[in-house]
Amino acid sequence: MAARRSVVEREMIALLPRLRRFALALCKTQDVADDLVQETCERAITRAEQFEEGTRLDRWMFSIMSSRWKNHLRSQKVRAADSDDEVLTTIIDERESGRAERLQALSEVERALLRLPLDQRETLMLTSIEGLSYREAAETLDVAIGTVMSRVSRARLTLAGELGAGA
């Protein structure tokens, strides 16, 4: 039993860097992202009985995180503000709070990714960066696979257009 506990702990802990990366793409600031990761882990505790045997822990955690963030946005009624203006505001806030170094370090593709609408952004993160298949992403986000394909196509076309000058 102790050995199994150790394995589960390591699996959860080993996921943290990827959870932080996904959360950063959702929240756009590291402090908020870390709060979301912590909330996701705590949510996993209370929902442990819902984790289905034979499924992957990472997908389950991504699913929880996505739902929690959308619930948060809905509760704050700020989802409509998820736009370029918000990114600009975020960047200004980051600079004012002394985290300009992190923002200056953002690559061109990272800035372009953060400008995508939330639905496209999280879908692209799961498929192109986390390596989930379209079907896995659809199951993780609880949407139809056609929705995933549409979001991925639109997101990649947008990125291609924005990064095109450097191609």
Binding site: L24, Q38, I129, V152
Partner: protein
Amino acid sequence: MTEPDEGLPPLSADTLPLYLPLYMDGALDQADRSAVEDLMKDNPEAEEILRLLDHADHALPDAFGDVLDAPLPLALARAASAAGAALEDRPAPPAQRSHFWGVAAAAVFALMIGVPGGFFYGQQQGRDAALIESADQTRARFGWVAQIVGYHRLYSAEERHLVEVSAAEADHIQTWIGNRTGRSFSIPDLSGQGLEFRVARLLAVNGKPTAQLMYVPTDGGDPIGLCFLRTGAEAAGLTDRARDEFNMTTWRRDGYSFIAIGTQPPEVIRQVAESASVAL
């Protein structure tokens, strides 16, 4: 409840761009694929979009990669440990899955805690000191190669899993991996070395998509693996190495790092690498 489908509009000359990313992924059915190819004939605009998509797809896998190497905040590590303890009270999963995740998680975990300033230096120093030292040494000496050794050990022990993956599924994964790693490739034909291709998989090494192609000797014996990922490293010729019970041949080309690995003698692994390097 699954949300309503927000799928793509019907394919036409106007909507062709929306289908091009899926065309690149090999995700379209035969009818749509043929229709896309018809619309692409003598269509320089579509060719330009494909070129821009390819450029963006190459840049995407590295996005926010620095987060993977950053030290973990203490609160997060505590929350994850608590979640692990809660999950531990659940019924035991199937033995095969437990073994898979145990080995895979241990490999990632060992590399992760090698990051100076991370949570474990302050909280679990005694418990994990030996592992931290080992991870540091391993990371310094072998980097991504050490992780491949861990994965290969895992798959070498999973013969049952290997035979459960159908050839048709492997073809699909091949296309998918080509897109995810940003490298178009053909599955090397190693029949001349007495090897039969069994399965292609996508791994994550330091968060980067990594292709793994597994072969088995037609006359029995341990499998041989071919892996590659984009590292941006300068080109280098074939180099023979050894780690634990495995022999390896590594090479680098076009910003990608490649490895052939198995328990076979070094000269056998090198022959595999020489043949595979033509197709990869």
